[in-house]
């Protein structure tokens, strides 16, 4: 039992289960699932479905963070991706045809791949700090998305396209299946190949990895490309849901929630070892918390306050100062290079 408790995922899962239990006690209908026309409905199903965009973005963010980086541009890439897809469908002669939708989606994904590659290039080749490199796209990307849709909200009617976000397959929401598939693919690639270990090595100790012959540049580049692609899929999903590409509202704050999900799941912001399962749990916690806040009658616009508090609590708990307080003065002396009063360097990213 103790070994179970020490497992990395223990506390995140406990937190998630606690949330679900508390919600069920207050509102027993929380966990009820009904079947209608071969489709499952219910609050839990809803959570699984609506968590898709955040899940995809958080997946990419996990890999980027593992390389000691960060990707602030994911919201902007989402907006651009959605805008591209919708514009193509809107401009085509036949918005209802599957071929059009297919082309639109592929185009959107290609564009997001390019944007991810751009980020990767700035970080791994030019050597710009990840915060700053991705900040540029964060700034410009929304402008680009607005441009593409000519500044007004494009309302698009396309059944195949909205199927992506709202449709069902085998009882389950398509959106849910998409993120499960993406998670499975990313996990397989990271853990079945050596990519995961090499990424962790680069994040834990870039210099030692270099001496061991690890090609850090390619790994870091790939991380941003992955993040971009996943953000692109998220953008397609998101825009398919509301059928409009409101460039400013799409993916607002999503990068922040993604970072929060990664941290909640147990991956350290300092890079190195990462856990995809942890991120999944982290996203589910956030979505459940979101739903809880909604049901408490809090207007959605006010929910950021709660999340701010969660972020603050989590980072304080992870803070070394707190650990020092807990463990007492003895531990801080045993560290080799301790200079008694100097605090950590600012913004290593």
């Amino acid at each position: 039992m103790k070994k179970l408790a020490r497992h990395r995922l223990f506390w995140p899962i406990v937190a998630l289960l606690t949330l679900i239990v508390v919600n069920t006690i207050v509102r027993p209908s929380f966990i009820s699932i009904t079947v209608k026309d071969g489709q499952l409905y219910g609050v839990l199903i809803d959570i699984l479905r609506t968590s898709a965009p955040l899940m995809l973005v958080a997946l990419g963010m996990t890999i980027v963070i593992a390389t000691r980086g960060i990707d602030l541009s994911v919201g902007a890439i989402m907006a651009v991706s959605g805008a591209v897809a919708l514009t193509i469908i809107d401009a085509s002669g036949d918005p209802e045809s599957i071929a059009t939708v297919f082309v639109a989606v592929i185009a959107a994904l290609c564009v997001s791949l390019v944007l991810g590659a751009w980020n990767g290039f700035l970080v791994s080749v030019v050597g710009i700090q990840p915060i700053i490199a991705t900040l540029v796209l964060m700034l410009a990307g929304r402008g680009v998305a607005l441009l593409i849709t000519d500044g007004f909200i494009t309302t698009v009617n396309s059944a195949p396209y909205s199927f992506i976000a709202t449709g069902y397959l085998l009882f389950l929401p398509v959106a849910f299946l998409i993120w499960v598939a993406a998670t499975a693919v990313v996990s397989l690639i990271e853990r079945r190949t050596a990519l995961g270990v090499l990424t962790e090595a680069v994040g834990i100790n870039p210099e030692a990895s270099r001496l061991a012959g690890v090609r850090a540049r390619g790994i870091i580049f790939g991380a941003y490309v992955t993040s971009g692609l996943l953000a692109g899929i998220a953008g397609v999903l998101y825009s398919s849901n509301i059928r409009a590409a409101d460039a400013n509202a799409s993916g607002q704050f999503i990068e922040l929630y993604a970072i929060l999900a990664v941290v909640l799941g147990g991956t350290s912001l300092m890079g190195g070892k990462f856990t995809i399962a942890g991120t999944v749990v982290g996203v589910l916690i956030i979505q459940t918390l979101d739903k809880t806040i909604l049901f408490l009658g809090v207007p959605p616009a006010q929910s950021p306050v709660f999340f701010a508090i969660v972020v603050i609590v989590v980072v304080i708990m992870q803070s070394p100062r707190l650990h020092r307080w807990i463990r007492g003065a003895a531990s801080s002396r045993s560290r080799r290079d301790s200079d008694t009063t100097i605090t950590k360097e600012v913004a290593s990213r």
Binding site: L198, I204, S209, A212, R336, T340
Partner: protein
């Protein structure tokens, strides 16, 4: 100037602990005013620990520090500064983005009506600089000046606060001859003013030129305090390197005589920065080349330049007869040349990854990210190395950071050997390792050479070098001075070679 009767700073019985180890143990040290005192010892001898204890950056576990007879206890560098002890570090601890005047006076700026009085600040800065005979524009940004000048500004800052003890930590490492002369002039100026100066440097010539007194540390212990004018160079080096009393098994060497076949790797004219210049080295298969020299002689720089870790300024390397100059660790490995860093923790072991992952890391990196070594094979491979090198505990899934130093070194060796290299450069592989593990690794080196590898073995311990190597390269001040067969050397003669200054030619005549 006659030595003062009483030391200005006196440390008795000082011990500093890191966890369960003593970084310095029962060390005595004293500084006299108006004297330049040098602290000497090889890497790991405890020099920087002692300095940190004096300047308040580390606490004393035992021992007493007296300043001008008064017992002091520093709990932070600020305490020491306030007591009059200032330090100028190798990495200049000043602010390159503000003016020279600010760097000297920030913290005690002249004010007028609540605001900083820039004119008076610049004037005062000019005064302080003039005290040292310097003419530097106080309004200029510090970062626009060379490192040498920045160092002098750091010293100016120190004296602007009524310094009594000035610690100079490796101040000349990046200076050219003119700049060193200027620094020495300033130091002598401070001597006349009665400041006690602690000069830490590994350049023997400079120590003899500038310092009045020398204290030698070895393995965290106090070896002795000497007056430089009474100390022979050879005695100084002997005190620093010493003879350790380790239980020895019969030395294992791969071959007794050097088989002069064609060298597997030839390096000609290797130059890298100021660390190594114009070095020529030949490496043969089934051979162990020991590299001996003092700190700063270029041992690591040479190995790193050859194995593509650091950039070379010039030099040609031929491997197996073909031009194959490695320009990165990656390319070196593909040529069969691997390097094991002396900084095991920062450049070697990836501490949070398991032993298994650490051992297979280089091999995996070689195959690329997408051709994973099958899980079973990885385990088998790692297990076989754990067995062969006797890595303890033999738990493949333990984080490598939890292993002892000796076992970490073995994990590193396993990682490199798993690549089936032809040339293996080991930089201080036995530093900080217990005796048993030391001998194990030395024997391993012999075995590897017996299996055909070409090994370069760098170590500060001369007996170890002689025990392991068939040939020894002696390095001094960035140059390869000679390469001799180890049969022709004894520890004493090797020590003399390593210590000897440039001027003399006969290796056995002691310096005066």
């Amino acid at each position: 100037m006659e030595p003062a009767a009483r030391p200005l700073l006196e440390l008795t019985g000082a011990t500093v602990r890191f966890g369960s180890e003593n970084a310095i143990d029962d060390v005595d040290f004293r500084l006299f005013p108006g004297e330049v005192h040098s602290l000497m010892g090889e890497n790991g001898a405890g020099k920087s620990t002692l300095i940190k204890a004096i300047t308040g950056a580390l606490p004393l576990a035992t021992g007493v520090l007296r300043l001008d007879g008064e017992q002091m206890r520093f709990s932070s560098p600020h305490d020491a500064q306030r007591a009059g002890i200032s330090t100028v570090y190798q990495e200049i601890d000043l602010l390159p983005n503000v003016s020279v005047a600010e760097n000297i006076l920030l913290g005690q700026e002249p004010r007028r009506g609540g605001a900083i009085d820039w004119r008076r600040m610049r004037a005062r800065a000019r005064e302080v600089l003039a005290e040292l005979g310097l003419q530097i524009d106080p309004a200029s940004l510090l970062g626009t000046h060379s490192l040498a000048v920045q160092q002098l500004v750091a010293i100016a800052r120190a004296i602007s606060t009524d310094v009594r003890v000035l610690v100079l930590d490796e101040p000349t490492s990046s200076l050219d001859l003119d700049e060193v002369a200027e620094l020495f002039r300033v130091v002598r100026e401070l001597k006349l003013q009665g400041v006690a100066i602690l000069f830490v440097s590994h350049f023997l010539d400079q120590v003899y030129e500038l310092c009045d007194r020398v204290t030698v540390l070895r393995d965290g212990r106090f070896v002795g305090e000497y007056l430089t004018k009474e100390l022979l160079r050879i005695d100084l080096v002997q005190a620093m390197l010493g003879r350790s009393a380790t239980a020895l098994t019969a030395p294992t060497k791969a071959t007794d005589a050097v088989e002069k076949g064609t060298p597997y790797l030839t390096a000609r004219g290797v130059t890298a920065g100021s660390g190594i210049a114009d070095a020529d080295v030949d490496l043969f298969e089934s051979d162990v080349l020991g590299v001996a020299g003092l700190l700063g002689s270029g041992r690591s720089e040479l190995a790193r330049a050859i194995s593509g870790i650091d950039r070379r300024d010039s030099g040609v390397i031929r491997i197996a007869g073909r031009d194959g100059t490695p320009h990165s660790p990656r390319s070196a490995m593909s040529l069969g040349v691997v390097y094991s860093s002396e900084n095991r923790r920062t450049e070697g072991i990836i501490s949070h990854l398991s032993v298994l992952d650490n051992i297979t890391l280089a091999l995996q990196a070689d195959r690329g990210a997408f051709r994973r070594i099958p899980a079973a094979r990885r385990r088998e491979l790692a297990a076989s190395w754990v067995d062969a090198l006797d890595i303890r505990p033999p738990d493949l899934d333990r984080p490598a950071g939890t292993l002892s130093g000796g076992n970490q070194q073995k994990v590193l060796l396993a990682r490199l050997l798993a690549l089936s290299p032809r040339v293996l450069l080991l930089d201080e592989p036995t530093r900080g390792i217990d005796v048993g593990a030391k001998v194990e690794i030395q024997n391993l080196v012999g075995e590897m050479a017996a299996n055909g590898l070409s090994v370069v073995f760098i170590s500060a311990e001369l007996e170890e070098v002689l025990r392991v190597a068939t040939r020894v390269a002696v390095l001094r001040e960035g140059r390869v001075v000679s390469i001799l067969s180890s049969d022709d050397l004894t520890v004493d003669s090797l020590m003399a070679l390593v210590a000897q200054p440039d001027e003399l030619d006969e290796p056995d005549v002691p310096d005066e």
